[in-house]
C-alpha cells in the first residue's frame, strides 16, 4: 500500500502548514440544546490525501462531527482547523476548501441541474467555469440531465447532483455523509470510482458509514465512533491485522471429556458435548514459528490420537471487529 500520509504534499502549499494533516480536530464536544451529549472530547487528525472512513452505528455522532467541521452546527467545546485555518475565526479560508455531500437528499426542486451546480460554485466564491462544471457533470453521468429540473430526477440522480454541487468549487476535502444510504449498485460503483479518482488528484475524502464493507473496501484509515466517543483510529490494514481473528473449528470423531494437557498451550475451547474444538488466533500470528500455528495444532492432535472428521476456518470481518469494539465501549 502506498503511504497516504506523504502523498500530495505539493498541494499543501496553499495551507502554509508544513504538516501533512489537512484537518485537526481537538477536544471537540457537542451537547445539543436538548441536553443530549452527541460528541465527547473527540480529537482526530485527517491526513492530506487519504480516504478516511468514520464508522459507527446510528446516532453515534458521525453527522454531528461532520456538521461541526463544515459549519452547520456550533461546537460546545474544542476546536477544528482545516488546512491550518480555524473553522470559526477563519471560516472563509476553512470552508472554501471543503465540499459536503449531506446525508439527507436535500436538493432544490425547480432549478435545473446546471443552475444548481453553478450556484454552488458561485456560493463558494469561485468564478464561473463552465468547463469544470461540465467535467463534474460528465463524471457523474449527469451531462444529459443538465437542463432537467431536479424534481424530475430519481433519488439516485439527486444524490449525484448533491455530489456534483460539492465538487463544483474544486474542494481539497470532500465529506460524504452516508454516501451509500439508499443508493443503487450502479451509483455505488460510480461513486467509488469517482472517490478513487479524486484521491488520485490529491483530494482528501472523509466518509461516514455503517456499511462496513464500504470502509473495508475504500478506506486508508478507519475511525470508529460510538456514543459520541472516538474509540479508535487505525490504518485499515493494521486494524484488520491487529484485531482480526481467525477461528479454526475442529469437529471430532469421538467426543472428548476433557482437553489433554498436551494441548494446553493452544488455549482451545471445547464445546459442551465434547465434539467440537475451537482454536482462536490472531491473524498477525500467521507465520510465527512457535508451534502454535494451525499445522502445529493438527500435529499435536494426531500425536494425541485425536481423530477429527471435519474442520473449517473463519476470518472476522471489519463488521465483527466493529461489533466487538462497540460492545467494549463504555
Amino acid at each position: 500500500m502506498s503511504a497516504p500520509a506523504t502523498r500530495d504534499s505539493f498541494k499543501s502549499d496553499s495551507s502554509g502548514s508544513p504538516s501533512t494533516s489537512v484537518i485537526t480536530v481537538s477536544g471537540l464536544g457537542k451537547t445539543y440544546a436538548t441536553g443530549h451529549v452527541a460528541l465527547k472530547d473527540v480529537s482526530l487528525d485527517i491526513r492530506r490525501g487519504e480516504i478516511f472512513a468514520l464508522l459507527g452505528p446510528n446516532g453515534a455522532g458521525k453527522t454531528t462531527l461532520i456538521s461541526i467541521i463544515c459549519g452547520l452546527v456550533n461546537a460546545t467545546a474544542g476546536k477544528v482547523e482545516v488546512a491550518g485555518y480555524d473553522i470559526v475565526a477563519d471560516y472563509r479560508a476553512a470552508r472554501s476548501r471543503i465540499g459536503l455531500v449531506p446525508q439527507e437528499l436535500t436538493t432544490d426542486s425547480f432549478e435545473s441541474v446546471w443552475a444548481t451546480v453553478s450556484f454552488s460554485r458561485g456560493l463558494f466564491g469561485r468564478k464561473a467555469n463552465p468547463a469544470h462544471i461540465e467535467k463534474v457533470l460528465r463524471s457523474l453521468s449527469l451531462w444529459d440531465k443538465k437542463d432537467a429540473r431536479i424534481m424530475t430526477l430519481s433519488g439516485g440522480m439527486k444524490r449525484r447532483v448533491l455530489i456534483a454541487k460539492a465538487l463544483s468549487h474544486e474542494p481539497e476535502v470532500l465529506f460524504l455523509d452516508e454516501p451509500s444510504a439508499g443508493v443503487d449498485v450502479e451509483l455505488r460503483r460510480d461513486m467509488w470510482r469517482l472517490v478513487r479518482e479524486l484521491r488520485d488528484e490529491g483530494v482528501t475524502i472523509i466518509l461516514t458509514t455503517h456499511y462496513l464493507e464500504e470502509a473495508e473496501e475504500m478506506a486508508d484509515r478507519v475511525g470508529v465512533i460510538a456514543k459520541g466517543e472516538l474509540i479508535l483510529v487505525e490504518e485499515k490494514a493494521t486494524l484488520m491485522r491487529k484485531l482480526g481473528k481467525k477461528q479454526l473449528t475442529v469437529e471430532l470423531t469421538v467426543p472428548l471429556s476433557a482437553l489433554p494437557q498436551a494441548l494446553a498451550d493452544f488455549g482451545l475451547a471445547l464445546s459442551g458435548d465434547g465434539t467440537r474444538l475451537t482454536y482462536t488466533y490472531a491473524t498477525n500470528r500467521e507465520g510465527d514459528d512457535d508451534g502454535l500455528s494451525i499445522a502445529g495444532l493438527l500435529a499435536a492432535l494426531s500425536s494425541e490420537g485425536i481423530a477429527f472428521k471435519d474442520l473449517h476456518t473463519e476470518q472476522s470481518s471489519l463488521e465483527d471487529i466493529f461489533v466487538s469494539l462497540v460492545r467494549r465501549a463504555p
Partner: protein, 253 residues
C-alpha cells in the same frame, strides 16, 4: 468580500422570481387596479379633495406602500424560510459567506422585486388618475428604502418562523391592519384627536406620510421625521439579523 456568492444568491432569487413572474406581478397589479376602480373611480368623485389633491391621486402613495410592505415581507420571508424547510440551507451554512453577504443576496433580490413592483403599480395608477410627482428623487428614495427595510424585516420573519402558518401570520395579522390604519386611505387630520395620537405609534404612518410628501409636497408628519423613523426601523432590523447570525438562532444547533 465574497462577491461571487452575493451574485449567486441574488441571481438564484431573481430566477425564482422570473419563474413565478405571473403570480408575482399580476396579482398585485390586479388588486391595485381594483382599489382604483372602487376607491378612485366609484367613491373618489364623491369625496372632497384632501389637502388640494383629488382623492384618487391621494391614495396612490398609500396603495403603493401597502403592496411594497406586504410583498417585501413575504418575498424575503419565503426566500429564507424555504431552504430551511427543505434543508437546502445546509449549503448556505457550509459556504464561505458572511451574514452580510447572505443578507445582501436575499434582501437585495427581494427589495429589487418589490421596487420594480412599486413602479409597475405607479404606472398602473397613472392610467386611472392624473399624477404629478413633486419630488421624483424622493419617491424613488422612499421606495428603495422601504423595500430594503421591510425585506430585511421579512428575512427576520423567515428565520424566526417554524411553520408556513407563522410565515403568513405577520403579514396578515400585523402589516395589513397597520397599513390600512396608517393613513393609506385618509389623512390623519380626518381622525378625531385621540385617534390621531394613537396612530402616531403606528410605524406605517411615517412611511405613508413621507412617501406622500414626495408625491404632493405636504404630509401629516414632517418628512424628516418620516425619514428618521424609517432609518430607525432599518437599524433595528439590521441589529436583529446580526444577532440571529451571531447566535445561530434557528439556523444552527
Amino acid at each position: 468580500m465574497n462577491l461571487q456568492a452575493i451574485r449567486a444568491i441574488y441571481g438564484f432569487e431573481m430566477n425564482r422570481t422570473r419563474r413565478t413572474l405571473g403570480q408575482s406581478v399580476v396579482s398585485p397589479v390586479l388588486s391595485t387596479s381594483l382599489y382604483f376602480v372602487v376607491f378612485g373611480s366609484a367613491i373618489g368623485p364623491r369625496m372632497a379633495e384632501v389637502g388640494g389633491v383629488p382623492y384618487g391621486a391621494f391614495i396612490v402613495p398609500g396603495l403603493m406602500m401597502l403592496t411594497l410592505l406586504t410583498q417585501s415581507i413575504s418575498n424575503a420571508a419565503f426566500a429564507i424560510y424555504f431552504p430551511r424547510f427543505t434543508g437546502t440551507i445546509y449549503e448556505l451554512l457550509s459556504a464561505p459567506v458572511s451574514p452580510f453577504e447572505i443578507v445582501a443576496g436575499y434582501v437585495g433580490a427581494a427589495a429589487t422585486k418589490s421596487t420594480v413592483l412599486g413602479i409597475i403599480i405607479l404606472a398602473t395608477a397613472s392610467l386611472f388618475v392624473p399624477l404629478e410627482i413633486r419630488h421624483p428623487f424622493w419617491v424613488l428614495g422612499f421606495l428603495v428604502l422601504t423595500a430594503v427595510t421591510f425585506s430585511l424585516f421579512g428575512f427576520i420573519i423567515g428565520i424566526w418562523a417554524d411553520g408556513f402558518e407563522r410565515l403568513q401570520l405577520i403579514p396578515m395579522l400585523v402589516i395589513t391592519p397597520l397599513t390600512f390604519l396608517g393613513g393609506t386611505f385618509y389623512s390623519l387630520d380626518m381622525l378625531p384627536p385621540v385617534w390621531r395620537t394613537v396612530t402616531l405609534f403606528n410605524p406605517v404612518v411615517y412611511l405613508v406620510s413621507g412617501f406622500r410628501w414626495s408625491f404632493f409636497g405636504h404630509s401629516d408628519v414632517r418628512v424628516e421625521v418620516s425619514f428618521a423613523m424609517t432609518l430607525a426601523f432599518l437599524a433595528v432590523c439590521l441589529f436583529t439579523v446580526r444577532w440571529m447570525f451571531r447566535t445561530g438562532y434557528r439556523l444552527k444547533s
